[in-house]
């Protein structure tokens, strides 16, 4: 008999159509079907969702905060990617 523990699943819930699925927590379940059923009971007891995604946690690859500098800092000095960088004559109202 297996004594393996139920794997961990990450749960994403779409609160209503038109909005994205958002991560709301995790839970243990023996398979995807059970993860869905448990997610419904644990995370949507008060109409919090219209759709659920479950992903086994081990399939998620996360960036390492230690690399945040090289990953995210290069975006900080690129002000020319924002509309406010460009000068417009006052007469132009909508652009």
């Amino acid at each position: 008999m297996s004594t393996k523990n139920w794997p961990l699943w990450e749960i994403f819930v779409r609160s209503k159509n038109g909005l994205e699925h958002r991560h709301c927590g995790s839970l243990h379940a023996s398979d995807a079907e059970m993860a869905l059923e448990n997610a419904r009971d644990v995370y949507t007891r008060r109409n919090e969702g219209v759709s659920i995604w479950v992903v086994e946690s081990k399939h998620i690859t996360a960036s390492n905060p230690e690399n945040n500098g090289e990953l995210f800092e290069p975006a900080q000095d690129k002000v020319y990617r924002h509309p406010t960088f460009y000068d417009l004559p006052d007469e132009v109202k909508h652009m």
């Binding site: 523990n5 139920w6 961990l8 995790s26 644990v42 007891r45």
Partner: protein, 318 residues
Amino acid sequence: MSEDQIKNLEKEFEARIARDEKIEPKDWMPEKYRQTHIRQMSQHAHSEIIGMLPEGNWITRAPSLRRKVALLAKVQDEAGHGLYLYSATETLGISRDQMYEQLHTGKAKYSSIFNYPTLTWADMGAIGWLVDGAAIINQVPLCNTSYGPYARAMIRVCKEESFHQRQGYEIMIKLANGTPEQKEMAQDALNRWWWPSLMMLGPTDDKSVHTAQSMKWKLKRKTNDELRQQFIDQTVPQADLIGLTVPDPDLKWNEERGSYDFGEIDWDEFWQVVKGHGPMNKARMKARVGAWERGQWVRDAAMAHAEKKEERKQKQAV
């Protein structure tokens, strides 16, 4: 890492918390921060799980369908709250099984209030009103705590918890306005749950070993004594309103402080219960461990079924 490097990281870490930045699971954190959070968060989760037992005792005997659906929903919420908190704690690198093991062997504690028995239906009212009331006072500041997963779990918990307190108070109102016997039952429940509820907010500040460090990490935002005073000031008028008497002869409004003065808490009783000598400690652990052991075959069967399905799928794919 050298000692100097760690010191630097620690300094940067404390500065982040001081700036009200959140700490997320993969961020560097001092070992003590990790361990303190594992201890507090798992205790919190265990309290939700054990907290189902005193109320579960009354589900089949709820006096009406309205009361029964409310109590069922409340107990189900507590299971949910336990699960939010367990999964948040797992992000710190402890497994669910390790946490259960600590609970079942008595290594981890849970809130001592759940070691008192629920003798009458009025206890369902008193628990919702007082125990959940005290819990909310404890939990609201935690929605801003520094560890992201804990703060997010607490926001969900707090959102759901306010119905718990209201349904309890409603039970008390109904009983307090009922027959003399019903009113007496409500008063008796208040008598038994009042002091344990005050103890639930933790030892006095001068005796609390973790307060200073926890305040620094925003794991605690108010001291135990501040929380207790807040609970008393908010609850006494609610008792007055429904004609019940708080069982404390020293309770008196202090005009100058704008707060109630209150009598001495029996801390010997508190420590006795914490150490395992409360009226229900053994029964609670027996029920919990029994449920876990009786569920073993179900967990094993589910896992075996999942593996078999997976194998079949792979065979078909070949």
